[in-house]
């Protein structure tokens, strides 16, 4: 069998980038499955695309600008109402910076 397109270390690195705390079992399973999928998508290399523009989007539109006017927004109450932790005004998260006393 050909070498897998992706190894365990790469899968771990991608999981880190994707902010996913995967189990060892998931990492091993994804290594095999992503390997098979990447093997399959290799077929794109049968096509010479050196003179082809990438197509990110099918519509003939570019920027959509609107007037810079203040409009009604959702408001704080509705914005934080689905938050898992809130004090009613802010989203609460664990401390991000260490206390330095420098401020």
């Amino acid at each position: 069998m050909a070498q897998n397109k992706i190894d365990i270390e790469q899968v771990k690195q991608v999981a880190k980038l994707a902010r996913l705390d995967l189990t060892e079992a998931e990492i091993s399973q994804f290594t095999t499955q992503l390997g098979a999928i990447l093997e399959y998508v290799e077929k794109l290399n049968q096509l010479d695309t050196s003179k082809v523009e990438p197509l990110a989007h099918c519509l003939p539109i570019n920027n959509c600008l609107r007037a810079d006017e203040v409009k009604e927004s959702l408001g704080t109450d509705k914005t934080v109402t689905n938050a898992p932790q809130t004090d009613g005004r802010f989203f609460l998260v664990p401390r991000i910076l260490e206390e330095s006393g420098g401020f």
Binding site: K43, N45, T49, V52, C58, C64, L74, T81, N82, P94
Partner: protein, 490 residues
């Protein structure tokens, strides 16, 4: 009486309600009788709104009794896929990460349905975040095919398709990123339309692959597709990718829906008949004969890049998904882990605990395709191939009005049959994803049954913004056949 009501189409029901012959509240009661009797087996709905629906129906009935004018879907019970934001009930995307999420706003399509006096009766099951082809990836519920309860309803709009097929609503909204309206429509024997990208606002549709996602209807027949499209189509300033009238004229899709297209040219792609089930191919060939009898000219074309669509799609869609799903961070809304040591673990553990396996797999694939060192080889390459695929369609539509092919290579497969091998599941989307990559409209309509009495779908693909003609072409076939009138024995 209630079965008589259930047998009506949206259009028939709306007209009967508007005339005062049928009460909307009776129609709502009829579907809830049905839901209460059968949905424990089918599992189409994630949430239902009986009290609210009866109140809304009562308001419509009252308007009519007072002689006031009513909207295009007055009093008609409609189901909505649970990835469209509603201020009533949860918007879960069938994911544990959004299980308790209540949207503070309505999606534009929801606003449009309500403005047309529709009655939204419930929200339907799907593959988590619309990622899947069988609804087996739902993190919340199992949905079965009303035609055979050991089989999948298709996906990702499996709940919507099952609900229409089982007469638990008169029409349903779905979303289609790679076939998620058309394939379940095909598996459940109903009509399913994916409009042109940009035709319908995506505001409030929870994003999966933003350059591919499009909302559309699943209905009992073509006329209802036209009616629903009339209601939901149009420019929306809240969606910068929804097109305005300078790009696409809004037309009345319903008027002239029964008109036959003169000098109709239909293209078939012989290479694509390889790999599909024999009975599926036979049904498509029979459909071609129907069109020939109607005077259509059938031409054969080549689409040299079609076979690369799956590979391009699964790189582009997952890349977009990995970026779209970065918003689920355990901070702003959705599940938050109880086991976080620091803020990084709020992200990594919240996401790991609440995303299902397929969602994780696609985030991983997409992140890899976008990551430094692989971006050119995978993502950029896929975008270039996407351009080639669109070129195949552009060339084809110079010669033909539409292209027909199967919607799916098989009829509904058994539950569990493809879950072990994700690549096999992806390959089942072979016929549907090219239309998403090219941004063009496509419809699936019932065109036969296999030996197990499972529905087969005919797919018709048309040029961008060609929905009106597409619906007329589909209606020509429907007018000659009665596959769309068959209902499953529940």
């Amino acid at each position: 009486m209630s079965q008589e009501i259930l047998n009506l189409t949206c259009k028939q029901l709306r007209d009967s309600i508007a005339k005062g012959d049928v009460k909307s509240s009776d129609a709502v009661s009829a579907v809830f009788e049905r839901i209460e009797k059968y949905d424990t087996r089918i599992g189409a709905f994630l949430s239902t709104f009986k009290t609210e629906a009866l109140t809304q129906a009562g308001k419509v009935d009252e308007k009519i009794a007072k002689g006031q004018s009513v909207g295009a879907l007055a009093g008609v019970p409609i189901a909505v896929k649970d990835n469209m934001c509603t201020t009533f009930g949860p918007t879960s995307c069938a994911s544990k990460i959004l299980e308790n999420f209540h949207s503070p706003y309505n999606a534009t399509v929801i606003e449009k349905l309500l403005a047309a006096d529709a009655v939204i009766i419930g929200k339907t099951n799907l593959d988590e975040f619309a990622m899947g082809s069988s609804t087996e990836n739902s993190g919340l519920k199992k949905t079965v095919n009303p035609w055979d309860k050991d089989r999948v309803p298709g996906g990702s709009s499996g709940g919507s398709a099952a609900a229409v097929a089982a007469q638990m609503c008169f029409a349903a909204m779905g979303s289609d990123t790679g076939g998620s309206i058309r394939q379940p429509a095909s598996f459940c024997g109903v009509a399913g339309l994916k409009p042109t990208y940009g035709r319908v606002s995506r505001y409030g549709l929870v994003a999966y692959g933003s350059s591919l996602d499009q909302i559309g209807p699943l209905t009992k027949n073509i006329e209802d597709c036209a009616l629903m499209l009339n209601v939901i189509a149009g420019h929306d300033e809240k969606d910068s990718t929804s097109v305005d009238e300078t790009t696409a004229f809004l037309c009345d899709f319903l008027s002239g829906a029964n008109k036959e297209v003169k000098d109709l040219k239909i293209a078939v792609v012989p290479q694509l008949f390889e790999g599909a089930d024999e009975q599926v191919i036979q049904s498509i060939k029979d459909a071609i004969e129907v069109y020939k009898k109607l005077g259509a000219q059938i031409i054969e074309i080549q689409m040299p890049h079609f076979e690369y669509a799956i590979a391009a799609y699964y790189l582009i869609a997952t890349a977009e998904a990995s970026s779209n799903l970065a918003r689920y961070d355990g901070v702003h809304y959705g599940h938050r882990t109880k086991n976080a040591g620091d803020y990084i673990e709020v992200y990594t553990k919240s996401r790991a605990e609440a995303f299902g396996t397929e969602v994780k797999r696609r985030i991983m694939l997409g992140t890899y395709a976008l990551s430094s060192g692989y971006y050119d080889a995978y993502y950029l390459k896929a975008l270039k191939v996407r351009n080639l695929i669109r070129g195949d369609f552009t060339a084809a539509f110079e010669k033909t009005d539409c292209i027909i092919m199967p919607t799916s290579p098989t009829t509904a497969f058994k539950i569990g049959e493809k879950t072990a091998d994700p690549l096999q599941m992806y390959l089942a989307d072979v016929y549907t994803i090219a239309a998403n990559l090219a941004g063009i409209p496509a419809i699936s309509i019932p065109c036969g049954f296999d030996k197990n009495n499972l529905p087969i779908g005919l797919q018709i693909i048309a040029p961008a913004f060609g929905e009106k003609k597409l619906l007329q072409i589909a209606r020509m076939f429907e007018s000659q056949t009665d596959f769309h009138k068959k209902n499953p024995q529940l």
